[in-house]
Symmetry: C2
Subunit: 137 residues, 2 copies
């Protein structure tokens, strides 16, 4: 099994204590988190560091950004073999309007969307809003 250190190194990310902690935090969460979620979890650390760490993770394709319509950007770890940097095979996200949580529905692929003549589709963002399984039960 691959350690987190190995994973980061394989993605050209220098390993630091901070980055390991942030990675672990993201791995423990099953839902997408905002920057302030991370901020609250690491009150000792500076906001800028957290911000730039996430940006680094994003550039190196180990987290992907989610825009769930709340106006606040959320982030989640890419799955093993996540192809969020590839344009065609995107999963969708579910935003619960009750608890506010956003989860990746990695099993549910986005159907092919037709666009009019002249338009070139490169990426699709699909967010379903409603009530999640925890809140509907």
């Amino acid at each position: 099994m691959e350690t987190i250190e190995q994973l980061l190194e394989s993605k050209d990310i220098r390993v630091t204590a901070m980055r390991l902690l942030i990675y672990k935090f993201l791995a423990e969460k099953e839902v997408a988190v905002t920057l302030s979620d991370i901020e609250n979890a690491f009150e000792k650390a500076d906001r800028t560091t957290l911000y730039r760490t996430i940006k680094t993770f994003e550039e190196k394709d180990i987290v992907h950004q989610i825009d769930d319509g709340t106006g606040i950007t959320k982030y989640a770890l890419c799955e093993q073999g996540c192809s969020c940097n590839i344009k065609t095979d995107l999963h969708l996200h579910f935003h619960c309007t009750n608890c506010g949580e956003t989860v990746c529905l990695t099993d549910h692929k986005i159907p092919q969307i037709k666009v009019p003549e002249g338009f070139i589709s490169e990426n699709v963002n699909l967010v379903v809003k409603g009530i999640c399984d925890k809140c509907s039960g």
Copy 2:
């Protein structure tokens, strides 16, 4: 043909000079606009007024809000018979990563999306990103 005054009145919106101007501005635009777009077009008017005018239009269902993933909320006039307030018949939006413009593809309906057991879908936001017809030509 219905005048703008009649339209506003039919939606319980009091007609003012400002509101007529903002409505006309939205009608002329073929793309979704941000609040600062409107701000730039009406430099004499106060930001708050424009903000609240749009909010009023939104409440009364003559504009709909678009979240195209840029992080900035955009607005567009609802089409004749627009059902954006109804949960099922939503059109999709196209965001051009070249010119930054976002257009409503009102003819293109969103396919039914399956969600896992326990999840209740109430609303779907679908934004296709890529190159628009003007930029690809």
